[in-house]
């Protein structure tokens, strides 16, 4: 290392644009590029699916063909060529691993780079990880411990094989294929995802977590997650993503459905860090996700998200507050840098009596990015004493970025109370000055202020996620001082 010069270090740093940008060389089993009924049948047969699921896919495909891509979002991008995508890719070895040692060492290496070494996770944190590389789940841990409590936590395809009745009962009930263009596409071609069922009255003792990865070149990922918390159950679910650096755009159109039955509570946390494209806005992941949960009486759904990645984000985790006294929460930090574009927010649909919702959204725009909050608070006629509080703040780091707020507030009940407030401003110069005066560098000061600004949301994250999220915020805003 003696001849490692400063120049070389600088070069290394320059190339270190995206920390998690790497491609794992594993032989993938990929279906031909393009989409038609044949491909859907092929995916379905490869996954050995029952007839009803194939029918579901074909119906979704028919619906999708009738739909057009939504254009109302405040984002601009080259529309993906849906015929240029390979809709299925699975690591070649199809046999399941008996033990951790059997796992492909290369994949272990990948996980290490991601900082989620399985050994460490297993030993230290007690987090069960359902690791999804491309579209087939490879390793699942803590399964036994969970099954003792009757908790089902497995990949979606396993659930289809092992618990078809449960899947059939709940799948598509919150996000039907008719919902939107991407949900329909997902319904037709989804490959895998996670399934989680918490039985009546069970409090899930650990945080369930899935790491999603996009790997093989040119494959879009169409994940489907279904979380069902039966009466009185509680679960905290974590979802985090990192994706390798790619030049071509990768499409990610996931569907997440949460079902909180009476008295149940679901906490769903996401740290999203897909590849955002390079400094010139080339490449990056298109993240077009439909996330929605339904609350029965006294149930609660809480969405927390930290969005730092993706070239284009189109995502509105929503709550349908169907039951009386149900509660919906949405906490979000969305950071955009360089040429990233995000149009994200939530929908709170109040149907039941005494329903409550809280929306806290913090947007940070840097570089030449565009960051929009788009939310809907809808109070239906029967939602007596509904209560909503929304706060949407935006922070602008440079004079080339944009921050926008598009809240929709619709009220049809006179006993409802709705408050919405939004602010947009620059990072406080006096705050920066205060920090710098005390010897803190500008970058660190910004990171400090931004972390403080996001505290309300970060506090909602489970501990180990919160640490990760803070690091992510700092990385995302590197060199963004305007």
């Amino acid at each position: 290392m003696s001849n490692y010069t400063e120049n070389e270090l600088a070069k290394d740093l320059e190339n270190q644009e995206y920390k998690f940008g790497f491609v794992t060389d594993i032989e993938s089993d990929t279906v031909p590029v393009g989409l038609d009924e044949g491909i859907i049948r092929l995916i379905s047969s490869k996954k050995n699916e029952p007839q009803w699921l194939l029918d579901y896919r074909l119906k979704a495909y028919a619906i999708w063909q009738e739909m057009t891509e939504p254009e109302w979002a405040h984002v601009r991008y080259q529309k993906p060529d849906f015929q240029g995508i390979s809709y299925y890719s699975a690591p070649k070895q199809t046999k399941k691993y008996e033990s951790w040692d059997d796992v492909d060492p290369e994949m272990k290496e990948t996980m290490k780079k991601l900082g989620i070494s399985m050994e460490e996770q297993q030993r230290l944190t007690g987090v069960a990880v359902d690791f999804v590389m491309d579209s087939v789940s490879v390793a699942t841990s803590f399964k036994e411990k969970l099954s003792e409590l009757g908790i089902i936590f497995c990949s979606f395809s396993d659930a289809v094989q092992e618990h078809p009745a449960l899947v059939q009962k709940y799948m598509g009930t919150v996000v039907p294929s008719t919902d939107n263009f991407y949900a329909a596409l997902n319904g037709a071609v989804f490959t895998d995802g996670s399934f989680c069922y918490i039985p009546k009255g069970v409090r899930c003792p650990m945080e369930l977590s899935t790491y999603f990865r996009i790997n093989a070149g040119g494959t879009g990922q169409f994940e489907r997650t279904l979380v069902v918390a039966d009466e009185g159950a509680y679960v905290s679910y974590l979802e985090g993503c990192t994706a390798p650096q790619r030049d071509e755009n990768q499409l990610h159109a996931a569907v997440v459905e949460l079902i909180a039955l009476q008295d149940a509570e679901i906490k769903y946390s996401t740290v999203q860090n897909w590849y955002p494209g390079d400094k010139e806005g080339k490449g990056g992941v298109f993240n077009f996700v439909t996330k929605r949960g339904i609350c029965e009486n006294n149930a609660k759904i809480s969405w927390t998200q930290v969005e730092t990645g993706s070239a284009v984000t189109w995502k509105y985790p929503s709550c349908i507050l169907k039951g009386d006294h149900s509660v919906g929460e949405f906490y979000s930090v969305a950071v955009t840098n360089n040429h990233q574009q995000a149009d994200t927010g939530t929908k709170m649909v109040h149907l039941g009596k005494n329903t409550k919702s809280t929306i806290i959204s913090k947007g940070i725009s840097a570089g030449k990015s565009q960051n929009s909050y788009r939310g809907l608070v809808q109070i239906h006629k029967g939602a007596h004493n509904a209560r909503n509080f929304s706060q949407c703040d935006s922070l602008l780091m440079t004079d080339e970025c944009g921050a926008h707020t598009f809240p929709y507030i619709e009220c049809k009940n006179p006993s409802a109370k709705i408050e919405h407030e939004a602010t947009t401003s620059k990072i406080g110069e006096d705050q920066l000055f205060y920090c710098m005066q005390r010897g803190i560098s500008e970058e660190k000061a910004i990171s400090l202020i931004v972390n403080g600004y996001c505290k309300e949301v970060l506090n909602q994250l489970p501990m180990e996620f919160a640490v990760e999220a803070q690091k992510l915020l700092a990385i995302s805003l590197e060199g963004s001082v305007g």
């Binding site: 619709e410 006179p414 408050e419 407030e421 947009t424 620059k426």
Partner: protein
């Protein structure tokens, strides 16, 4: 112009004569292009998401019936003002204007037209079919001794008006625009207001919308504001079954101040929609928006406010608020306060609330011997007074109070 009646919108304009105003060809072309193959917008279109136009599309307008001069002059609300009367196609201009004030017919004195800036089919139709309108010029350094009052009464028929205001440098004026309609008549009026506000002018516009059921009152305001000017539009919707206001202010000079305020008192099946856009194009400007309303019975209120801050509009200070009180189970409120910001050194905020009266306040009043109804009325009056404080004219304010008292049984 060749017309092929194939949809409701084309049917709607059958019988209307093309405009007589000497309008720029490009403007007309833009409007024509916009209308190609267009029908009435549906609730699928973003700007009509909450407004169903079926009622208008299917409405049978009554025959135009001109009012007598004496009847018309009874409609005025200010006794001492330069008053213009507009009744259907007829326009009566005031005599004896002071130097510095000029009021003419827009067909006689062609004014400069702004570039096309309409958001919907009605704005485009206005360009093609505007028959009437006035052109008001207030000269440089002129401070008007009394306000200008425009009384627009519709009694049957469909009308498109185009009024132009030109306020010279350092001019000061107050303009009251009163729209009314006669009972038992179905009519439609779309009025385009174009304001040019020169440097340092101080202009206050008050709109008093007091139409009867059966009238469709559409307003389209387009303003251009220059440096250090002060511009206000206060829209008070007292009555009218179908009201739609679409206001856009382009702030083009530094240190300008813009106020857009609105108040609406709704009951029965009223539908009132307020759309505002403030386009901050330059730095160091301020804008304030306050819209407040109460909605009872089966009324629907819509507010959509947009604050647009362009890249160069640094140091913009923009505030927007919309507050509503729902008075009945069947009333509804739709609010969409938007911010679209491309400059970083700005302070922009908005707030929106929908709810009911504070129970503690109600209790406080009841504990002091006020009846439930009186306490409620008092609090609602106070709630709405925020906007009414902008009305700096006693006679106008008295009129507003009296009309609200009549309609809502609120005694001021």
């Amino acid at each position: 112009m060749e017309t092929i009646v194939s949809n409701k919108l084309q049917q709607f304009v059958v019988g209307l004569d093309p405009t007589q105003m000497s309008m720029p060809h490009a403007l007309q072309l833009t409007a024509q292009n916009h209308l190609l193959a267009q029908d009435f917008p549906t609730t699928k279109s973003e700007r009509f998401k909450y407004t169903r136009l079926a009622k208008l599309a299917n409405a049978q307008m009554s025959n135009s019936l001109l009012l007598e001069k004496a009847q018309l002059s009874q409609q005025k609300i200010l006794t001492d003002a330069y008053t213009v009367y507009i009744n259907n196609k007829q326009i009566i201009l005031p005599a004896d204007l002071p130097s510095g004030l000029q009021i003419k017919l827009n067909t006689e004195e062609p004014d400069t037209f702004h570039e096309a800036s309409f958001y919907d089919v009605f704005g485009a139709l206005n360009i093609l079919y505007a028959q009437n309108g006035i052109s008001i010029r207030v000269a440089k350094n002129c401070t008007l001794d009394k306000p200008i009052q425009i009384i627009q009464v519709n009694s049957g028929g469909k009308y498109f008006y185009r009024h132009h205001f030109n306020f010279g440098e350092n001019a000061e004026a107050a303009v009251f625009i009163v729209t009314k309609s006669t009972t038992d008549s179905n009519s439609f009026a779309h009025t385009h207001f174009q304001y040019d506000i020169a440097q340092s002018a101080r202009i206050k516009v008050y709109k008093i919308q007091d139409c009867c059921a059966g009238h469709f009152d559409f307003h389209e305001d387009r303003a251009k504001q220059n440096a250090t000017s002060h511009f206000e539009i206060n829209t008070l919707t007292l009555d009218g079954s179908f009201v739609r206001n679409d206001t856009m202010v382009a702030v083009q000079g530094e240190h300008a101040q813009t106020y857009l305020n609105g108040a609406y008192w709704l009951k029965e099946e009223q539908h009132v929609a307020n759309y505002t856009t403030i386009d901050h194009q330059v730095a160091n400007c301020e804008s304030f928006e306050t819209y407040k309303g109460v909605a009872g019975d089966k009324a629907t209120a819509v507010f959509n406010g947009k604050v647009f801050v362009r890249k160069d509009a640094q140091k913009t200070n923009a505030y927007q608020s919309n507050a509503n009180v729902l008075l009945s189970d069947s009333a509804s409120v739709n609010s969409k306060p938007e911010l679209e910001i491309y400059a970083d050194d700005v302070k922009c905020s908005h707030g929106s609330t929908t709810g009911q009266l504070d129970e503690n306040a109600l209790f406080y009043l009841r504990a002091r011997g006020l009846s439930a109804a009186t306490a409620k009325t008092l609090l609602l009056q106070a709630f709405m007074e925020d906007v009414l404080t902008y009305v700096k004219h006693d006679e106008a304010l008295a009129y507003v109070h009296q009309r609200i008292a009549e309609r809502f049984d609120w005694n001021y």
